[in-house]
């Protein structure tokens, strides 16, 4: 059994070559007969230490203008350089379009390239590429990703997504009924397009005669694949395809534990889209770390609140276009006989386990996430520039100094927790 580590480190193991049929490279689907062994070997990665990343939405407060957008971008790059120096593992950038205030990050490949050019070690991640042909052609996704992997020296992580706002899907005239299907085709096609030989593809959302898609990624066989998890059930899609779970919305401990448990159970019998399996589970959190708890709460809640309010202004697909493909809240006006009509005065519901507080608070919150099988935590550092940049940087430094070491010295803790989850 080949247990060599993937260049990325954790959770990514190659199956024996005997699993691959000679005609594999001409096929659009991997041979399922090798999958069980692949998934089994994927278990080994989760004994590694918990990973930490930073997550860029690039929120921009009004009034808009070149100056404020440039400042937001420059601040992000400075945060990435510092995170690299401090030992963070990942920096992620989203792909969003038309989302005024909430996210002005519509060309993440450029943002991540800038980050890669200014950093040495930190991995750069798409959080995520929108796998909808009206927005991104699969060949162009493969080309851009391979180029970024080259430029970064093999540090790319590729998250995939299908968008969840009508703001975006409607802007590109996308049929929401089709996005799950196109996403599925993208994640199956990308590993094929990255192969060293010319390939052909005959699919639902694109087809091409035999061509050699260039360049090829540095990472062998390709950058780790992820899918963003918002809706319940997507973690099962990830597991079935042998790709990582990139959480991009706050979930409760209970919900995340359920998702993680189901993910790890399902991935054992996956039909991977590639010759390798990425079995990592990362969640999204908010980070503001300060020695003074009160100060931490004041600034941290301010940025979290601003970001969450901007998020609420978006027109969600499930609100604008009834479809089975996006889970609908059947009725947003709950019965008064239950918990009562929703009070519009209620602010943003606080997600559990926020890293907004002093180092001890952050350690406790992260230990809880680690205990339920999460293998990485990504942090939003600011929203609408509500926290001054020097304070963001100080928070990163304090986190790196006081919190991160608690999770670097006991890598076996994660393995024990996962064993306890019945894997």
């Amino acid at each position: 059994m080949n247990e060599s580590r993937h260049e990325s480190g954790a959770g990514y193991v190659e199956p024996p070559r005997s699993c691959l049929r000679p005609a594999f490279f001409d096929f659009v689907r991997p041979d399922p007969r090798g999958d069980c062994a692949t998934a089994e070997e994927g278990r080994g990665g989760r004994g590694d230490a918990l990973k930490f990343g930073i997550f860029f939405e690039l929120s921009v407060p009004r009034p808009f203008g070149p100056a404020i957008e440039r400042q937001v971008y420059e601040n992000a790059l400075e945060q990435a350089r510092l995170a690299d120096a401090l030992g963070f593992d990942w920096v992620w950038a989203v792909e969003h379009h038309f989302l005024e205030e909430y996210s002005h990050c519509s060309a993440p490949e450029l943002v991540l390239t800038a980050v890669a050019m200014q950093t040495k070690r930190i991995r750069v991640g798409h959080g995520a590429v929108v796998c909808v042909p009206e927005m991104n052609h699969p060949i162009r996704v493969a080309e851009r990703a391979a180029t970024l992997d080259l430029l970064s020296g093999g540090r790319l992580e590729l998250g995939t997504a299908r968008s969840s706002t009508w703001t975006e899907l409607g802007g590109f005239q996308v049929n929401p009924d089709e996005t799950k299907k196109t996403w599925d085709e993208f994640v199956r096609a990308l590993p094929v397009l990255w192969r060293r030989e010319p390939v052909r593809w005959n699919g639902r959302c694109f087809s091409m005669p035999e061509r050699n898609v260039l360049p090829k990624p540095v990472q062998d066989p390709h950058p780790p694949l992820w899918v963003t998890v918002t809706s319940p059930g997507t973690e099962l899609d990830a597991a079935e395809r042998g790709i990582g779970c990139l959480g991009v919305s706050a979930a409760s401990y209970q919900e995340q534990e359920r998702r993680t448990r189901e993910y790890h159970r399902r991935i054992q019998s996956c039909n991977p889209v590639s010759s390798v399996v990425n079995d990592q589970v990362a969640t999204l959190n908010f980070l503001y770390c300060h020695e003074d708890r009160k100060r931490a709460a004041e600034l941290g809640m301010r940025f979290m609140g601003a970001f969450s309010v901007a998020n609420s202004h978006l027109l969600w697909t499930r609100e604008a276009f009834p479809t089975r493909a996006y889970q609908s809240l059947a009725n947003l006006a709950p019965s008064a006989s239950g918990s009562g009509a929703t009070n519009p005065g209620d602010g943003v519901a606080l997600p559990e386990g926020l890293c907004i507080g002093d180092p001890q608070h952050c350690i406790a919150a992260i230990k809880r996430w680690e205990s339920i099988g999460v293998t990485g935590v990504n942090f939003l550092l600011n929203g609408m520039e509500a926290v001054p940049q020097p304070a963001v940087l100080d928070s990163l430094r304090l986190f790196a100094r006081e919190v991160m070491p608690q999770f670097r010295k006991e890598p076996t803790t994660t393995a024990r927790a996962l064993a306890g989850a019945g894997q």
Binding site: T167, L314, F321, P322, A336, P344
Partner: protein, 233 residues
């Protein structure tokens, strides 16, 4: 903005509207007037959206009636709400009760429903003029819970002054279909604001449901964000 109802109090009892049909259609509107057409305490969505929602209620305390609302899709705090810009009702007793009890600005009008196998058409007429003609075609079955209905906000003159009256109808859907919307007539001024321009159709649906209008629980100051401007009644 059009004239608004006056509420004597907030004690209207719950009203059951069983076996009702709801046609809901969403259109995008230009961003130029999106903030001007809603009170300062609400935030428009991005993009701005107009929801036309039509009820056909065969049973009610006032007999059978139809109600058509034009609503701007907004956020009250972080909650999705339809701010009712204008409404029409074809039953005088129902219109009066909905206005004085729940704040619907329901003006009298003729409302015609035409239901065929593959289309549903709703026409609203007033003073001999068609002020709305909405068609939904090519029905596709959905699960009953796939259609999302937002709570309602009606601007009304209340004992506490001008308030956004929050109405949370309970909608228990039993069947739903998605439709392709087409708006062949829309007189914006008749629906509360001449700046309304539902220029881009997005979706429509028809739902069979039991509707229950619940007692009013919350009102909001129209000039203040809901986080600080909400009052329990």
């Amino acid at each position: 903005m059009a004239r608004r109802p006056k509420l004597a109090g907030f004690d209207a009892p719950a009203v059951a509207l069983p076996r009702s049909e709801i046609v809901q259609a969403l259109f995008e509107m230009p961003s130029s007037a999106r903030e001007a057409i809603v009170p300062a305490g609400l935030h428009p969505t991005n993009p701005a959206a107009l929801v036309l929602q039509a009820w056909r209620c065969p049973e009610s305390p006032w007999g059978a009636f139809s109600l058509v609302q034009a609503r701007a899709q907004t956020r009250s705090g972080v909650r999705p709400r339809g701010f009712v810009l204008g409404a029409a009702c074809d039953n005088a007793a129902a219109a009066s009760a909905l206005a004085t009890g729940f704040g619907f600005p329901a003006a009298p009008a003729e409302i015609r429903w035409q239901r065929a196998y593959d289309t549903v058409r709703i026409e609203v007429g007033r003073g001999g003029e068609t002020i709305l003609a909405l068609e939904g075609a090519d029905p596709e079955p959905l699960a009953a819970g796939d259609v999302q209905f937002s709570g309602t906000l009606n601007l009304a003159d209340t004992p506490r002054g001008w308030r956004l009256v929050q109405l949370d109808p309970e909608i228990r859907a039993t069947r739903a279909e998605r439709l392709r919307p087409k708006l062949s007539a829309f007189r914006a001024a008749a629906w509360g604001d001449s700046r309304l321009d539902p220029y881009w159709p997005v979706s429509a649906s028809i739902t069979l449901a039991d509707i229950e209008l619940l007692p009013i629980r919350f009102v909001c100051r129209p000039d203040e964000l809901a986080f600080t401007g909400t009052e329990r009644v």
